[in-house]
């Protein structure tokens, strides 16, 4: 036990988002200009696999429970199952038609409200979702909850209630420290996520999965969904296909030809 008799166990919530498989083409729906999530295969946001892995490693080292938290449609339960089969203990899924069309501001509000229903010391997220690519939800969640923001972590160390990270920057890294509760977001260099084992997949089926409606989570419906969001899409257009370029085969003069092209473009 640490000073004050507090057990050293860390209870961790991992925010996991289901995104369209990046190998498939993404489409916007003509009807309401939101991402067409029904028509495509859903997978766990890749960076969230690293977030789950980091939580499991911290649990293995310090004890505690790992709970998965997802805000998303019915279908996102596939992704929750995957996180449970990797080794997480329990999951909370906030699912409600009122959430459809929520932007980052609204999603972070829904996540913050749901977090309030789960006892935790640490929240771990991916730095970015591969569909929205906004990289804003972790910072928004820290702002909303008042917990310390430890984002862009490429390394996390926990010592009692002190959490220290290496925050990746443009030029290297910063060493940043805070006390729990803290919100950590991770980059993919942090670890190598495990694959679910057969045993894990079987065990996942029996793990507790709590489904919350907006009312259950104490979410004010005027702050979520298309109506509660702070942005609107006016119009969109598919980008016209690019004109075919010039391709030459290197016959001992490929470099010369490339230099000539660069000169013709006034680049050199």
């Amino acid at each position: 036990p640490t000073a004050g008799g507090r057990p050293p166990a860390m209870n961790i919530v991992v925010c996991v988002k289901q995104v369209p498989d990046t190998y498939e083409e993404k489409k916007l729906s003509d009807a309401d200009k939101t991402l067409d999530r029904e028509g495509v295969e859903g997978v766990m946001n890749e960076l969230d696999e690293y977030a789950v892995e980091e939580a499991l490693r911290l649990k293995e080292a310090h004890g505690g429970e790992v709970t998965i938290l997802t805000v998303g449609p019915e279908k996102a339960v596939e992704t929750i199952r995957k996180a449970l089969s990797m080794g997480a203990d329990a999951a909370v899924h906030v699912v409600d038609p009122a959430l459809h069309g929520s932007d980052a501001l609204a999603t972070s509000y829904a996540l913050a409200q749901a977090l309030g229903t789960i006892q935790h010391d640490l929240v771990i997220l991916g730095v970015e979702s591969t569909d929205a690519r906004m990289s804003v939800v972790p910072a928004m969640l820290a702002e909303r909850t008042g917990a310390a923001q430890l984002s862009f972590a490429r390394k996390v160390e926990v010592n009692g209630s002190t959490v220290k990270i290496e925050r990746q920057t443009d030029t290297g890294y910063d060493v940043v420290e805070a006390q729990t509760p803290a919100i950590v977001s991770v980059v993919e260099k942090i670890n190598e996520p495990r694959y679910p084992s057969f045993k894990g997949i079987m065990a996942a089926k029996k793990k507790p999965l709590t489904t919350l409606s907006v009312a259950d989570a104490g979410i004010d419906t005027s702050k979520v969904g298309l109506g509660g969001s702070g942005t609107s899409v006016a119009e969109f257009a598919a980008r016209p296909p690019k004109q075919a370029g010039t391709i030459v085969k290197d016959e001992g003069d490929g470099g010369v030809k490339l230099a000539e092209f660069l000169a013709s473009q006034k680049i050199i």
């Binding site: 119009e235 690019k242 470099g255």
Partner: protein
Amino acid sequence: MAEVLVLVEHFEGAPKKVTLELLTLARSLGEPSAVYVGAGYDNAKAVLAEYGAQKVYIAADGELDNYIIAPKAEVLAQIVGSASPAAVLIPSSPEGKEIAARLAVKLDSGIITDAVGVSDGFVCDQSIFGGGYTVKSQVSKGTPVITVRPNSTPPEPSPATPVEEQVAVSLSDAAKKAKVLERVSEKKGGRPELTEAEIVVSGGRGLGSGEHFALIEKFADSLGAAVGASRAATDAGWYPHQNQVGQTGKTVSPQLYIAVGISGAIQHRAGMQTSKTIVAINKDPEAPIFELVDFGVVGDLFDVVPQVTEQIEARKG
């Protein structure tokens, strides 16, 4: 005309190019006011005036640099509260986006990230899904908080004599929770920053080893370019992760992008597809990168790269 706030991104006082781009953009939307946070304002003063800042808010308290993200969001929120600007423009760097995120929550305002253009009424152009769609979107709630990608607007000087206003900040406890103990630089010297560079030369698995990246660096230096890498190359430890281009790396939009020994996987394309001119060198004529190129060379990079580098150096005379 209404004030448009621009958060200055700087390195030890020297404003980054994207700041000058944002001031230029802000001039077309209203009256640009620069917001300078941290030490070193003396290094920034002349440049901010040259690029047309009508006003500069200066929050110089040394304590601001000891914590990440939250203090800058607090300073901006404070200024928005007193100045009621028409919008806030912030560079779309990882840090910029996080500052914008916290600011949007504080103001309960809509936020748009990665705009590549902003026009009248703060209508933002975005290029999403790796350039597959162009979208026009708008903030519908509160003061628009917009992050703008580097290389979106050519910076143009327009000298002004800004009014300077010192901002007294008293940081809340919440802003002081994540303390910086140490800042470590691992940067490889001298080259332009990836997202700001006019030209980017990237290497991939085709290089075969970290040592062979010297070929890419020499080629890049002949063009004054930044060096990028595919994930295959950064995962193998051949080049630092900061230099990764793609979906889980940086998004670049230079005048010229050269992909060397890179196949052109969809996740790589997501980070470079909007480059103006695209060139590839790859020995496989079927590599998907060739679908994107303006000019491609099918050949062995170990032959083509040294030759083109030599040609460029020779033309410089």
